[in-house]
Amino acid sequence: MSETVSAAEPMLEVSELTVDFPTDDGLLHAVNHVTFGIARGETVGIVGESGSGKSVMSMAIMGLLPKSARVTGSVKFRGQELLGASERDFERIRGSEIAMVFQDALASLNPVHTVGAQVAEAVAIHQELKGSELRNAAIELLDVVGIANPSARFEQYPHEFSGGMRQRAMIAMAIANDPAVLIADEPTTALDVTIQAQVLEVLERIQERTSTSIMLITHDLGVVAGVADSVMVMYAGSQVERGSVEDIFYESRHPYTKGLLASLPRMDRRMNKSDRLHQIEGQPPSLVFLPTGCAFHPRCAFAETPGACDGEVPALRVVGDGHYSACHFADRIGSEEGAMS
């Protein structure tokens, strides 16, 4: 969104973040050594298939994982380490400095309280407002996120809202205290395309107003193209590619990203009847028994097996200015434009 993503000090710095869950079959590696940062006012898109660890990663940042989770690495907010912070410290930061919009708005709103009460609560926790002042603040928030007739809507329960309205209400709660960082976990996945665009527009408008840093999680590269400044692509809990939107869309250096791009319907390319939408073959791997070497190798058309791909985990390496790829053959991938489709 903002044109100048400067080298400014990041709001949020995640480094080597790793999350494992003990399961009956062994350790489940949900997030593996993920490193990235978000600058003030920047929007980072996080893309990956279902189960790639996007939600677990954001929950780790918020300190909301169940006790069973084993989290290592570092998450710094304005230079302050959050991993291992006390519940009290987290309570102060959550909702005021870092806020989150969840995936499933119906399940994420409390069914027995009115939407208004839930938005007002978000305000009241971090601001000294009471009575009609509090109510007005909450109604104004509903208005900001584009809910028509907000004072009547204030009294209604979540089940009386439509899907798009519920997602807006979630956003209203998240922005109640002008957070520095907003984590939006698939805010539009359950919505139809028009509503999706409206909700994204609300996020953009809020960002313009308060220079919030947004971490936008989605499995839809198309959503990212419109709103993000930079993109991180995740596969099986690992970061496989990261770069500016231009890097990712026009100069991708990773087969998985290329696969995702090829599966997008393209407006700028005429589609012949024989042109089927490309799908990445195969299933995502088990996170307990990850494939050896590159986790993507069983599905990768470029894989050299046996060889480097199933022998050695590819490290994330620089392939351009601010552009990183975790592929043994990243250099070659770049030059084979369109090889996948």
Binding site: A99, A107, S108, N110
Partner: protein
């Protein structure tokens, strides 16, 4: 709120036919099992028997008998006990008052105990106390209430009295008052402890189990996570978001179980010599007291219907999603 009113009135309307049908069936069952004029027949006074039969329309078909009975009942005449010759309309309310006291205290204490135990166990899942409560509740559920009552009398009344050399036991086990005592003071409380314990041990055990699992469900719900993500302090998350939702199913189960408590009363009132509905039932049954039994069964059925209604209404009050249907 208007939707709430329609909801309640609709449920109320539904319960009227239920009461009517139930009272007819119960009347039919009791009339075909017991003969209300049995005492007079034994006296061989043919005229008195005939009078009794006419008064109760015994020679008419059952529906006509029922209408006659219902008509009298609406006018305040519930018949006479063949056991004591007392008016049924005086006996049943007197017994009911004792029972209502037992149920009131029993439910109040059980509700608080069950919620406290259930919430604690859920928040401290797999802690030593959680295991202790789980074990205790299995014992409570498995132990027959009459046995529990007798053990409680022995352990809490008789044995402490002997050891401490008291004149009076700390907790009484006969009636709800001693001698000329009245009111709701210390004497009353000392009489209540053991019968209320006996009456509630099983429901505390089952309600606290229920509350524990309902609380565990809710604590992992997405909206509880949302509350935490907003920075709501843990205490408020537990009370305002989790418990408030976990109570919805519990309250329904409670309202339904209270009707079933009438069964437990028969044992409790017998052990502790409390002249309530349970005792009245046992004595009337033994004496074949048809007129009392009809009223007893109808009143009991009425209670169950009322608590079912209450369950529905509370469910609607506590869960806004229910009201629309």
């Amino acid at each position: 709120m208007p939707s709430m009113l329609t909801y309640i009135s609709r449920r109320l309307l539904f319960s009227i036919p239920v009461i009517l049908v139930a009272s007819f069936l119960l009347f039919w069952m009791v009339r075909s099992t017991f003969d209300p004029c049995v005492k007079l027949r034994a006296s061989k006074d043919v005229e008195a028997v005939a009078r009794c039969e006419t008064r109760l329309h015994l020679n008419d078909p059952i529906p006509m008998q029922y209408l006659g009975w219902a008509n009298d009942a609406v006018h305040g005449d519930l018949g006479q006990s063949s056991r004591t010759n007392e008016e049924v309309s005086a006996m049943v309310p007197r017994a009911l008052w004792y029972t209502v006291q037992l149920i009131f205290w029993g439910v109040l204490i059980s509700a608080f105990a069950a919620v406290a135990l259930g919430v604690y166990s859920a928040l401290k899942q797999y802690s030593v106390l959680d295991y202790t409560f789980t074990g205790a509740s299995f014992v409570g559920l498995a132990m027959p209430p009459f046995w529990f009552g007798l053990i409680a009398i022995e352990l809490l009344a008789i044995m402490p009295k002997q050891w401490l050399g008291l004149d009076e036991p700390l907790f009484y086990f006969v009636g709800l008052h001693s001698g000329a005592e009245k009111g709701f003071g210390a004497d009353y409380a000392r009489h209540l402890v053991l019968p209320v314990m006996t009456l509630t041990v099983q429901i505390i055990a089952s309600w606290s189990r229920f509350q524990r699992s309902s609380m565990l469900d809710v604590m992992s719900a997405d909206y509880v996570r949302t509350a935490r993500a907003k920075g709501v302090p843990r205490r408020d998350v537990v009370v305002h978001h989790a418990l408030r939702n976990a109570l919805v199913p519990l309250v329904t189960v409670m309202a339904l179980d209270i009707g079933a408590l009438f069964g437990g009363l028969i044992i409790t009132e017998t052990i502790f010599s409390i002249p309530g509905m349970g005792q009245l039932f046992v004595r009337s049954l033994q004496a074949g007291d048809a007129e009392v039994l009809v009223v007893w069964t109808v009143v009991t059925a009425g209670f169950i219907v009322v608590f079912n209604l209450l369950a529905d209404v509370l469910y609607g009050v506590m869960d806004p999603r229910v009201r629309v249907t």
